[in-house]
């Protein structure tokens, strides 16, 4: 009888240890690192210059668009150990103007940048860059959230072709449909917008939080 109890106890201990090991493995995989920039270089990517109609324009670039392209290239060139393929940028277009800011889409085979500048200016350009495919498949659009000089919320995002409208969800729970023009959604609002949602060309629902950092 004592031996049976010992065996049962040992068996329970083995099962318990097994469960702990499985839980640890599950916890680790659930907390895994994302792919580093450049780590998925071998997988197919939807090039920003193909995914955004605004970047496919054959029109000559304006001086301001040239300045935005140069500025974004400079940000990537000075940015530490960014892989070479993510530094290549080939196209730039003014995609909209919002409350005193000009907004540019700047893209290459693997990177998509949004560049902002004071309206009509070739200087004072800030830059944010994401990578394909997530920046161009509708899952993680590149954008910015901040404030206008008078304290209203400022939101802007670049969205790929096929997403023609987004729904803005306000802090009070109301929603409002907003059109996407030239791959850009931009808004300024006194009432904070909590999130933007949309439906991609594949039917999947996308969402991005617009709460400030």
């Amino acid at each position: 009888m004592t031996n049976k109890k010992t065996y049962l106890g040992a068996g329970a201990l083995v099962i318990l240890l097994g469960a702990v090991v499985i839980a640890l493995i599950a916890g680790t995989s659930g907390n895994r690192a994302p792919d580093a920039v450049g780590a998925d270089a071998g997988s197919p990517a939807l090039a920003p210059t193909a995914a955004l109609a605004s970047l496919r324009s054959a029109e000559p670039r304006s001086d301001a668009e040239d300045a935005a392209l140069t500025r974004a290239r400079g940000s990537l060139a000075r940015g530490g150990s960014i892989p070479v393929e993510y530094r290549e940028l080939t196209a730039a277009r003014l995609v909209g103007t919002s409350e005193g800011l000009d907004l540019y889409a700047v893209g290459g085979p693997r990177s998509l940048c949004v560049v902002t500048a004071p309206h009509g200016s070739l200087r004072g350009m800030s830059v944010g860059c994401g990578r394909s495919p997530e920046a161009t498949d509708g899952s993680r659009p590149v954008g910015g959230v901040g404030k206008t000089p008078d304290g209203r919320q400022r939101v802007y995002f670049l969205l790929p072709d096929g997403i023609d409208a987004v729904s803005a969800r306000y802090a009070d729970g109301t929603t409002r449909e907003l059109p996407v023009a030239a791959n850009l959604i931009s808004l300024t609002s006194e009432e904070p917008v909590d999130a933007l949602t949309w439906t991609g060309t594949d039917g999947r629902r996308g969402e991005v939080s617009t709460r400030p950092e």
Binding site: P34, V37, S75, G124, S126, G128
Partner: protein, 120 residues
């Protein structure tokens, strides 16, 4: 612990470069050399595309310097290059990131520039 390199490419240009491994929301500030400078530009990059990557200047009084576009952090990016509204008052470069999905450190690399060397 951050790693910093102070470079003075010419008499009229001043650049600080620094880097850190940081968890989400933890600051990576420029802490070497002359800490507060007339920065006009702060550039942050990471090896990962994250929900927020942020680059800013903070004054000795702890105030966040305004950027020209009113934005400190870009969304879903691995680069944020901020142009500050002016070089005054002096500020300390600070970069950081957030992403609720990731519970590990990532390396942030940063540069801050005074007006003569800045593209802003």
């Amino acid at each position: 612990m951050s790693v910093a390199i102070v470079a003075a490419p010419s008499a009229d240009a001043y650049v600080h470069s620094w880097s850190c491994y940081r968890y989400s929301t933890n600051d990576c500030s420029d802490t070497t050399g002359t800490t507060y400078n007339p920065w006009l530009e702060v550039l942050a990059t990471s090896g990962y595309s994250v929900y927020h990557i942020c680059a800013e200047g903070v004054t000795a009084a702890g105030n966040q310097r305004s950027t020209i576009d009113g934005v400190i952090c870009n969304v879903n990016t691995f680069v944020r290059d901020s142009c500050l509204i002016s070089t005054s008052p002096d500020s300390q470069g600070k970069v950081h990131w957030t992403d609720s999905s990731y519970g590990f450190t990532i390396q942030l690399q940063a540069n801050a520039y005074t007006a003569p060397s800045s593209a802003c």
